[in-house]
Symmetry: C2
Subunit: 113 residues, 2 copies
């Protein structure tokens, strides 16, 4: 089973709309980086996604780097900063889709958003 | 300029994680229905997204149908209902990416999420 993990910085206290947009940016960008075979399998299975949270930039970037180290495609979102956060702030990461167990190795300690 | 509108049912009072997941489902599914030329242009422009809200199922489906009527690709998300909402509940719609003015004709009266 494949899934995608979407990780949001909870410390920024973004509003619901901002979270929806940042999550969607991350999800789509990670999807676009993923190989076609994995994408197709994930789509067939129903595109399972899980939304998680971290409490700061450091933890977010750690998750992103852990994915890269394991050769799992991931996207790190920098916000343009028109609203709510400073320009360039990292707000979200999406990892995968990839094998669920592999995702869990990276994100297993993070709490649900 | 192209953009994608993501519309979330506010009356369901979903938590942040649920909103992030439903928005990402809708965003990606509408993207996958969109023609390649429009996708590419939208990606080049930075994949502008806007998150909006409605207060019930009726208004959500109206937006979805208005997009279909105008031949703009849209995705209507039914939740599996494992958490927070009843199985089959419609939770979100994404419209486009499509021309910003065309999106505004459909969603212009909706409030930001």
């Amino acid at each position: 089973m494949y899934k995608q993990a979407i990780i949001i910085r909870n410390d920024l206290q973004m509003g619901k709309g901002k979270i929806a947009a940042q999550a969607s940016h991350a999800s789509l960008q990670a999807y676009l980086k993923t190989d076609e075979e994995t994408r197709d399998e994930w789509e067939t299975e129903g595109m399972k996604k899980i939304a998680l949270k971290v409490d700061g930039e450091k933890e977010l970037i750690q998750a992103f780097n852990a994915a890269k180290k394991r050769k799992i495609r991931a996207a790190l979102i920098h916000d343009a900063g028109h609203t709510q956060v400073e320009p360039g702030t990292v707000t979200a990461v999406a990892i995968g889709p990839a094998d669920e167990d592999e995702i869990d190795v990276i994100t297993g300690k993070l709490k649900l958003l």
